[in-house]
């Protein structure tokens, strides 16, 4: 899978938040097979060492990081956070979140497009967290995004794919764009479904971190993503309403 100019083999991206412990996070990352984890920036206490301890642990995992702008509600906040993240994490990648509604964490499409344009022009490789809206997606591509990350459902809900029609339409409308379903995935079957629809990858966090066995769930998601991708490539049959016998009718005995 191509993410800007980087080739990765795993189609599962994993968040690093909400795990019971750093050791469980590390175990989950290993079992997921992911090559990319998301990270954030937060305030450090004077004399504190939380940031350095976390960063050292992530570096030991040997994976790439995708910093986010989580919690940003304005273009300015998001752009400033992106610049700070680029310096700290040493990457041009940014998972761009410009949130428009605090209850649903629905992206603000207007702010998102504006911030994406500013950052793309400044050399960032932007991974915008967006909805499945076609027009917004097109505008994000117009301003320089080469990857889009539509939500499956609101962050942390685990509801799966709320608008399968919209996601399918997005996939069909932008066949050449790397599309990653980000947020709302609760079960491996949700991830498999998205991959069967032709999405390129899945980004999730809570479903693994909040599972009773995060490492086990990470493994389950890895298998689901792989299965869904294989199914997509194998060209699934079209569903139909009426039954159609799979066993040949011709040659059936007459037994009265």
């Amino acid at each position: 899978m191509q993410l800007y100019d980087t080739e990765v083999s795993s189609r599962l991206l994993l968040g690093t938040a909400l795990y019971p412990s750093p050791a469980i996070l590390a175990d989950a990352v290993k079992h997921s097979g992911t090559q990319i984890v998301t990270v954030s920036l937060r305030r450090e206490a004077a004399g504190g060492n939380s940031g350095q301890a976390f960063w050292s642990m992530v570096q030991e995992l040997g994976v790439r990081v995708l910093p986010n702008t989580a919690g940003c509600f304005s273009v300015k906040e998001a752009v400033t956070t992106a610049h700070m993240a680029r310096e700290v994490f040493g990457t041009n990648w940014i998972k761009l979140e410009v949130i428009g509604d605090s209850e649903t964490l629905c992206p603000d499409p207007f702010g998102l497009v504006e911030a994406a344009g500013i950052l793309a022009a400044d050399g960032f490789e932007v991974f915008p967290y967006c909805t499945e809206d076609l027009v917004t997606a097109g505008k994000l591509l117009d301003v320089g995004c080469r990857v889009l990350m539509p939500w499956g459902a609101p962050i942390g809900t685990g509801l799966g794919l709320n608008n399968t029609y919209g996601l399918r339409t997005l996939r069909a409308h932008f066949p050449e764009t790397t599309l990653i379903v980000d947020a709302g995935i609760g079960l491996p079957s949700h991830a498999a479904r998205a991959m069967e629809l032709g999405f390129d990858a899945i980004l999730l966090n809570t479903a693994v971190a909040r599972a009773g066995d995060p490492a086990g769930m990470a493994r389950a998601f890895a298998l689901a993503v792989e299965a869904g991708r294989a199914a997509y490539l194998a060209d699934p049959m079209e569903p139909r309403d009426m039954a159609s016998p799979s066993t040949p009718v011709f040659g059936k005995a007459v037994l009265r």
């Binding site: 690093t16 990270v39 937060r42 305030r43 004077a46 350095q52 986010n68 310096e87």
Partner: protein
Amino acid sequence: MKITVNGQVREVQATCLTAVLDELGFASQHSATALNGEFVPRNARAGTSLACGDELEVLTPRQGG
């Protein structure tokens, strides 16, 4: 002078951002800074002066989704 650091009012003696970070115990941190909402790159810290009432943010890596 009094400045606000990560949302808390602090009294500092230094005025240069590099020195302020050192004074507050942030010097060894792998951090990024913003002054009054504007990003201050690492290489600009030495040339950045703080004034009374300024708001400084010092951010470091954290878990994120």
